[in-house]
């Protein structure tokens, strides 16, 4: 069974608040990104997004953007990304999700990219700029390979669109808490409550809520509201502040546990 679906089912059955972590492949270098990812996994993440950096990440805010540039400057290749995914999926129980932008997948060849992702043990893919009606066959190839594409619902979607997206999304519906890009803390206020309620009312799948999650205070509020919280820029910030001689894996494990 696909690891993502397995972890999801277990978490839902236990009524857990599950964590989806995030690393930038090759940031600050390949080795450190692997250790950091392992720390997030041993810290309890059920899911981990491994972002293959792209030179023009226009859905991301400054924290992830800068990490992507560093990785590319340090010579990141798509093959490095797959190597990282292979290592993580074989050494952890966490479901590994490849997140990237359209051009990285397109240039590699959509079908080849999906095949390779599967071969390396990835459970799912997230490509924000390959939307449903312009996906270059991504969903077709993913399904063919016992994987799936996780779709994203954002403020501005109406009930019908949320339903559509959730039906086609793999396992869960990635739900963005507010407008804008990644980073910046999200205030959990009446407006976000209303939005989350709209998604809950229309989604046919469990909700993974993200964008701006960076504290226990926030996840406490979300417990019982959504089954999965996503922390992205939070982890990338921790990784970018690591000091030399620090044990990368245990620092990230701590950071992961600190969210709950």
């Amino acid at each position: 069974m696909n690891t993502l679906l397995k972890n999801l089912e277990a978490g839902i059955n236990n009524n857990d608040c599950m964590l989806m972590g995030h690393v930038i492949a090759g940031f600050p270098d390949v080795k450190t990104s692997i250790e950091a990812a392992k720390g997030i996994c041993s810290g309890g993440a059920s899911f981990l997004e491994v972002q293959f950096p792209f030179s023009d990440p226009n859905a991301d805010g400054p924290v992830i953007e800068n990490a992507c540039y560093t990785s590319i400057e340090n010579g990141f290749t798509v093959e490095d990304g797959f190597k990282i995914v292979r290592e993580l999926s074989s050494s952890t129980k966490t479901a590994i999700i490849i997140m990237t932008y359209a051009n990285i997948v397109f240039k590699y060849g959509v079908q080849s990219f999906v095949k390779k992702a599967k071969e390396c043990g990835a459970s799912a893919l997230i490509v924000p700029d390959l939307p449903l009606d312009h996906d270059e066959g991504l969903m077709h190839y993913a399904t063919e390979n016992d994987m799936g594409v996780i779709l994203i619902a954002t403020p501005g979607c109406d009930g019908k669109r949320i339903k559509d997206l959730s039906e086609k999304s793999f396992g869960m519906l990635y739900t963005v808490a507010r407008r804008g890009t990644t980073g910046n803390k999200t205030e959990l206020n009446a407006e976000t409550d209303e939005w989350i309620q709209l998604v809950k009312n229309n989604s046919t799948k469990p909700i993974a809520l993200g964008f701006g999650i960076q504290s226990k205070e926030q996840t406490d509020k979300l417990k019982g509201v959504v089954p999965i919280v996503i922390a992205g820029s939070y982890f990338v910030t921790v990784i970018s502040k690591l000091k030399q001689n620090e044990n990368v894996q245990s620092e990230l494990e701590k950071a992961s546990k600190a969210l709950f």
């Binding site: 792209f54 030179s55 023009d56 990440p57 226009n58 859905a59 805010g61 400054p62 953007e65 800068n66 540039y69 590319i72 990141f76 290749t77 798509v78 359209a102 051009n103 990285i104 997948v105 397109f106 240039k107 590699y108 924000p128 700029d129 390959l130 939307p131 009606d133 312009h134 270059e136 779709l151 994203i152 619902a153 954002t154 403020p155 501005g156 979607c157 997206l165 963005v176 407008r179 804008g180 890009t181």
Partner: protein, 414 residues
């Protein structure tokens, strides 16, 4: 020939490859634009603004002196630089700003490279009473200070972009980010014939006034069609605006000129069609030809003209290159400066560096075609904005001394 996109696509190029957050805004734009482009009042308002505010029609000039000097084909110049704010960019800025108003939008955002689209947008917003914020790469802010100065004079806020290569493509990214943050009171005025559908169609439509005027004006000089038409190609807005009217006239050779920069190695040019490193990709919401590496990362670009310094090309131009309706060539930085000097000296015009690419190619084409043939060049902008770059490229102490003395004068309060 079908001049509009088919479901957002020109052959395999174009489309709407956008994150979910931008979908409602683009769908709204699509619906509104497809309504207003057929709306009599809107078209009338657009044309009266072009006439009274932009100063259209811009002239078509027979470059008699250069033609004689070269001894080849007759060269005609469409002088878009004589439009308000100095370039063709204003045609599109005015069109989109008017549409924004019709749609009830209060705030405008835009990207700019050289600053010409930024200046045009800021000007249109000042005229129409819209709030305006322009995103501009930090490097472009530094090298195009005069344009920043004028944008601010028009009341626009200019926000330097510090991410990535700090140039045009990064300004586009930042404008897209900002658009995804804003509520539905904001309209994004994109400056070239690219980006997600419906921008390539909309920008082309607003710019097509250029070619329509040419068709009319050339009758004052000759009866039949020109043999060739030449335009520089950054994103592709001036070229597609100039060519569209003539796409069906297959006897007219259409020539697009890319930035050859300082050489043919990656990073030294912005030649997507004629250079090394161009291949199909999906970036910034559309599928087209991009300068990129094997991993799909965009390559750095170089051009003496900030307006051509961009890794992508509009999807319709990529399609017309594939189908060979438009022939592509390039001009190197040094040829561009020479062409600028030649036309300044003998025709009394100051072409923009971008437009000087078209002129550099036209000089070669005129020789090749020979006497009796006719070519029309789109001089997309005027070069006042480039005085710092051109003066520097030509070297010499006079300009340097002037700048030094100017600092003394400013600091001395004289």
């Amino acid at each position: 020939m079908n001049k509009r996109s088919d479901n957002g696509f020109f052959g395999e190029y174009g489309g709407q490859y956008i994150a979910e957050i931008l979908r409602p805004a683009l769908k709204e734009l699509e619906t509104s634009y497809n309504h207003y482009r057929n709306d009599k009042d809107f078209i009338e308002e657009f044309h009266s603004t072009l006439k009274n505010f932009v100063g259209r029609p811009t002239p078509l000039l027979f470059a008699e002196n250069v033609t004689k000097l070269i001894g080849g084909a007759d060269i005609y110049l469409k002088l878009e630089g004589l439009a308000n704010t100095g370039a063709h960019k204003i045609n599109n800025a005015v069109g989109q700003a008017l549409l924004a108003k019709k749609m009830g939008k209060k705030k405008i955002i835009a990207e700019t490279g050289a600053g010409q689209h930024g200046v045009a947008t800021a000007s249109a917003c000042a005229r129409l009473g819209l709030e305006c914020e322009i995103f501009m790469g930090e490097i472009d802010v530094a090298r195009q200070r005069p344009n920043v100065f004028w944008m601010e004079m028009f009341g626009a806020k200019v926000t330097p972009v510090t991410s990535g290569t700090k140039t045009l493509k990064d300004a586009v990214n930042e404008a897209l980010r900002e658009w995804s943050k804003r509520k539905d009171d904001t309209f994004y005025i994109l400056g070239s014939a690219l980006g997600p559908y419906p921008y390539p169609d909309m920008v082309r439509d607003f710019q097509s006034i250029i070619g329509r005027e040419v068709r009319d004006q050339m009758k004052g000089y000759f009866n039949n069609l020109p043999d060739a038409m030449v335009a520089c190609v950054g994103g592709g807005s001036n070229s597609i605006g100039f060519f569209t009217e003539f796409l069906d006239d297959t006897s007219v050779t259409l020539i697009g000129v890319e930035a050859g920069g300082i050489g043919d190695n990656p990073g030294e040019h912005a030649s997507r069609i004629t250079g090394e490193g161009g291949s199909t990709g999906i970036v910034q919401g559309y599928k087209s030809i991009f300068l990129q590496d094997d991993n799909g990362q965009l390559l750095a670009t170089h051009s003496i003209s900030a307006g051509l310094d961009y890794a992508g090309i509009g999807p319709q131009l990529a399609y017309l290159a594939d189908t060979k309706r438009i022939t592509f060539t390039k001009a190197y930085d040094n040829e561009v400066i020479e062409a600028l000097q030649l036309f300044a000296k003998h025709e009394g015009i100051i072409p923009a560096l971008e437009s000087s690419h078209a002129l550099a190619a036209a000089i070669k084409i005129a020789k090749e075609y020979g006497a009796g043939k006719k070519i029309i060049v789109n001089v997309s902008g005027r070069g006042d904005k480039d005085i710092f770059i051109v003066a520097k490229a030509l070297g010499g102490d006079v300009w340097l001394n002037f700048l030094k003395q100017e600092i003394v004068r400013i600091e001395g309060g004289m």
